[in-house]
Symmetry: C2
Subunit: 202 residues, 2 copies
């Protein structure tokens, strides 16, 4: 049975995830999700003292907790809550960095339903505070990953009411930047961040 | 029965919390925890477009999820995980802001056991990236709240091995800054942030 988060993403037990992310990191690495690759990348940046970027925990509404003697508290009833922000944030070169990462199996466009109203709202708020906000978009079939500045996503999203349901891949290629996929770091998005947001310092 | 998070903070059902934070905001406001006051303050900053600062969700290790027909997924078994970062972060004037908030019932000192090794480590990493990092410390008995830059906390924490178990309140008064407690915003810590981290722009 497939279990899903409120955002539609498939739920896998944390145990299972841990196993996957521990060993056997092959270069092509087809079995890894975008999230797992980004977590490994962020860990790399952290160890190399390049940036401090973390994925936020999945927000959970806790209803009932048991507190057995001599062992850890057990949450017996809880529900997934919708996040009020994007999933990733942190600090790079003193600047605030904020992003959401999504993947699609589509070949020619990226469905806008991957993003929620409140996430778009959050990105607008971050831009207003002069933070750096973007999305990392993965086309699974071609194994291509793009960085697209939030201003472009917001522009496309705001046309949603007038029939737009997705962003054309050609538009992502035009306004976004292809991220190099490697071994270590896996998804070197800071290289793109450098060229896009810190062009004077290259 | 008192249920506690791994950090020792008392667990209250989320429902209960929500009730508390909704109405009846009196000025003295003795019933509110520091966390609740900060959430209301951050919401105020967000609405006034002053800053985008959120508390991170409590990290939970999910083990078992039920997926009943026609209703939301129910988490049936989960455990509290220790957070690998501080609780609050966000963006203010383009800069990355990061802090942890703690309260004590002590009158003359602040116990260092309120902070975990990995949180101190995280603050060091943030400082290295030129982020703004501090702690908000509340003395419950006198209703005083201080902002103390992370460099000072780290300094005191690193003396922990050599018998130090707490920071003297006189040191907090000397190196920290008293935050004005008000009605709206409750805990106007950005006023202190302005004077400490943006002195040239006042």
């Amino acid at each position: 049975m497939v279990i899903r988060y409120p955002n539609g993403r498939q739920f896998k037990g944390e145990q299972q995830k841990k196993q996957t992310s521990s060993k056997e990191l092959t270069y092509s690495n087809r079995g890894m999700t975008l999230e797992e690759d980004l977590n490994v990348t962020n860990q790399y940046y952290l160890e190399k003292k390049q940036a401090v970027i973390h994925k936020k925990p999945t927000p959970v509404q806790i209803v009932q907790v048991d507190y057995p003697k001599r062992s850890a508290a057990v949450i017996k009833e809880a529900y997934f809550k919708q996040a009020s922000t994007t999933d990733y944030n942190g600090v790079y070169r003193g600047r605030y960095l904020d992003f959401e990462a999504k993947e699609t199996k589509n070949k020619t466009s990226f469905p806008l339903q991957n993003f929620h109203e409140h996430q778009i709202e959050h990105m607008k708020q971050v831009l207003l505070q002069n933070g750096i906000a973007f999305v990392i978009l993965k086309f699974v079939v071609t194994d291509q990953i793009f960085l697209l500045d939030a201003t472009h996503l917001i522009h496309f999203y705001d046309q949603k009411d007038s029939n737009r349901k997705s962003i054309r891949k050609t538009d992502i290629e035009k306004y976004g930047f292809l991220i190099k996929i490697g071994y270590h770091p896996r998804i070197d998005y800071l290289q793109v961040v450098d060229s896009v947001y810190f062009p004077d310092e290259l």
